[in-house]
């Protein structure tokens, strides 16, 4: 038999159910590999001992009806986990231990999942390369000194390096799909309101969504099925009929109408990405799908809109970090001085930059010009999608305008860093679901992804389309374990 850590999530579940593997064996295998992989810097907190204890308890009285029977899973450190430190990649939360569990991680625990650790991410999920984390850069297992994407960079890296059989991330402007694309893995950003935001450290509340990151579409369907529940504790959670996404998964896309937005053919996009897109289009046609040219005319305004809306919401969400009830505190001469020093020393540069942008656009005299304007343009962007969905069932685009870049390469140019999210941000603004799947490599051998965007709450369709693409692409990640001595 191959290594335990080479198995995919659904395969592991199957083997545990057939008693070919125990939860303890599986949990130890992923922990041992994680221990050998410190160089990647994927973990912020390890929960190894506790996890093995839980695996042993599971094996003593296994419940094979669970969807994740004794399966070890490492999660992004943006999810509050009861009694396990939760930092959001920030110094200001370095010693924060939640007294409650996020709904999404609770769902994983309820299905028999075991949390083996908390994964690195950009500070407060603000970043596209995992370089803004207080806990340091994360290495992309694809190649040394390559960024794993962000903000769910620890998640994408740990998954691609097989330190966890599946993981979860959050996506505010591309933070699941872009790192998935950079590491040759699958990432789903569900419809806004599909997964509960309760217990997720808030960044931009009208955009944040949790979602699965996995090796393939099957695993993704299983994880999504577990994560997505209606939750009274999140006032924006939507009570819609959730499917058995894995059971319903099929590659039949005959008659499906797939839109190709012409505005996504941006200037200066590498030829390889265009070719990848063409490859996806060809597969859809060959499998009986119909390709329809569509227009999303306000695409170019999505990023500027995002860089008003997201920082505005962040500036108000992050006002709670004042050094009083939890988190880091710096000494000050008086209360105000204490606040100012705490926030100055506790937040990193990118977070401060975004808080200040947000504060500015919400400040007296500028609200209408910036924030209100952005909300109006957001409506136009959503209308574009509504129009398009009168003609098509889903939309196919590249996931990112480039492959992964080197650590440090874009750090001093915020706007160039922001441009990374050009294909993912409009989807968050419109609240739609989208999945990124690995679809090929560029000439450097780095993975590239394709994105399938769906109608609101129609995750099943995009999973099916992604499943069909995946079957025909047969992508293989060339990861050599270079970081293991």
């Amino acid at each position: 038999m191959s290594n335990i850590t080479d198995l995919k999530l659904v395969e592991l579940v199957d083997k545990i159910k057939k008693k070919e593997l125990s939860s303890t064996e599986v949990t130890i295998a992923f922990i041992e590999r994680s221990k050998k992989s410190k160089k990647l810097n994927t973990y912020i907190s390890e929960n190894y001992e506790n996890a093995i204890k839980k695996a042993k308890i599971f094996d003593q009285k296994p419940d094979f009806k669970k969807k994740l029977p004794g399966i070890p899973i490492a999660v992004k450190d943006l999810f509050c986990t009861k009694n396990i430190r939760t930092t959001a990649g920030s110094k200001i939360l370095e010693n924060f231990v939640p007294t409650y569990e996020s709904t999404v991680t609770q769902n994983i625990l309820d299905e028999g999942g075991i949390i083996i650790g908390k994964l690195n991410c950009d500070e407060f999920a603000m970043g596209s390369s995992n370089e803004t984390s207080y806990f340091g850069n994360v290495q992309n297992p694809v190649s040394e000194n390559l960024v794993p994407g962000g903000s769910s960079g620890g998640s994408s890296s740990a998954l691609a390096a097989k330190l966890t059989p599946a993981t979860i991330g959050t996506d505010t402007g591309g933070s699941i799909r872009q790192p998935a694309s950079f590491t040759g893995t699958v990432g789903l950003k569900p419809t806004y309101g599909s997964c509960s935001r309760y217990g997720i450290v808030a960044f931009a509340s009208s955009l944040d969504q949790a979602g699965p990151m996995t090796h393939d579409v099957k695993d993704c369907s299983l994880m999504f099925e577990i994560m997505s529940t209606y939750d009274i504790k999140d006032s924006t959670s939507v009570d819609f009929k959730r499917e058995n996404y894995l059971t319903n998964l099929n590659e039949n896309i005959k008659g499906k109408k797939i839109g190709i937005p012409k505005e996504y053919r941006v200037d200066g996009m590498p030829k390889e990405i265009d070719e990848l897109w063409e490859k996806g289009i060809k597969i859809i046609k060959e499998n009986g799908g119909q390709i329809i040219e569509i227009s999303l005319p306000n695409t170019n305004y999505a990023l500027p809109t995002y860089y008003i809306v997201a920082p505005a919401e962040a500036s108000s969400n992050l006002a709670r970090y004042d050094g009083v009830k939890y988190g880091f505190r710096s000494k000050g001469e008086n209360l105000i001085d204490m606040y100012e020093k705490t926030r100055s020393e506790g937040f990193g540069d990118e977070v401060k930059r975004r808080i200040m942008i947000g504060t500015y656009v919400l400040s007296s005299g500028y609200y209408d010009a910036y924030y209100l304007k952005a909300q109006k343009v957001r409506r136009l962007i959503k209308n574009d999608f509504d129009e398009a969905y009168k003609k098509v069932d889903a939309i196919l685009t590249p996931s990112t305008p480039s492959s992964a870049f080197k650590i440090g390469e874009k750090l001093n140019d915020p706007v160039s860093m922001y441009l990374n999210d050009i294909f993912t941000v409009p989807i968050n603004l419109a609240g739609l679901p989208a999945i990124s799947i690995p679809a090929g490599h560029d000439k450097k051998g780095y993975p590239l992804g394709l994105q399938v965007i769906g109608k609101a709450f129609d995750e099943q369709s995009i999973l099916n389309i992604a499943f069909a693409l995946e079957k025909n692409i047969s992508f293989k990640n060339n990861i050599t374990d270079w970081w293991i001595k």
Partner: protein
């Protein structure tokens, strides 16, 4: 539009984030490049467009006001950077 040093300092005050002059200069530069990118929105006529405040088109549900978690005072206080018995401690605010 350009954001000058005085404005940067004002925003930093509103944000309750202290910054020194060097940092303020660097931040000013970054903010200017970000805002020149944001200005693009002015190309659009939005006179007759309603702002989109929430994507979730649901009415807020009510639930009973009942205690869900009890006896967690100790755990909550454990996260506090400075405490005294059952209280959070802050620098003196009343003379």
């Amino acid at each position: 539009m350009t954001i000058d040093l005085k404005t940067v300092k004002h925003i930093s005050k509103l944000s309750r984030i202290s910054i020194d002059d060097n940092k303020a200069k660097k931040l000013g530069k970054d903010l200017n490049s970000i805002f020149s990118f944001i200005e693009k929105l002015n190309e659009l006529d939005t006179k007759n467009t309603e702002p989109l405040t929430s994507i979730a088109e649901t009415t807020l549900k009510l639930r009973k006001d009942e205690i869900k978690s009890e006896n967690i005072r100790e755990d909550i206080l454990k996260n506090s950077p400075d405490k005294n018995k059952d209280f959070f401690v802050v620098p003196k605010v009343v003379e």
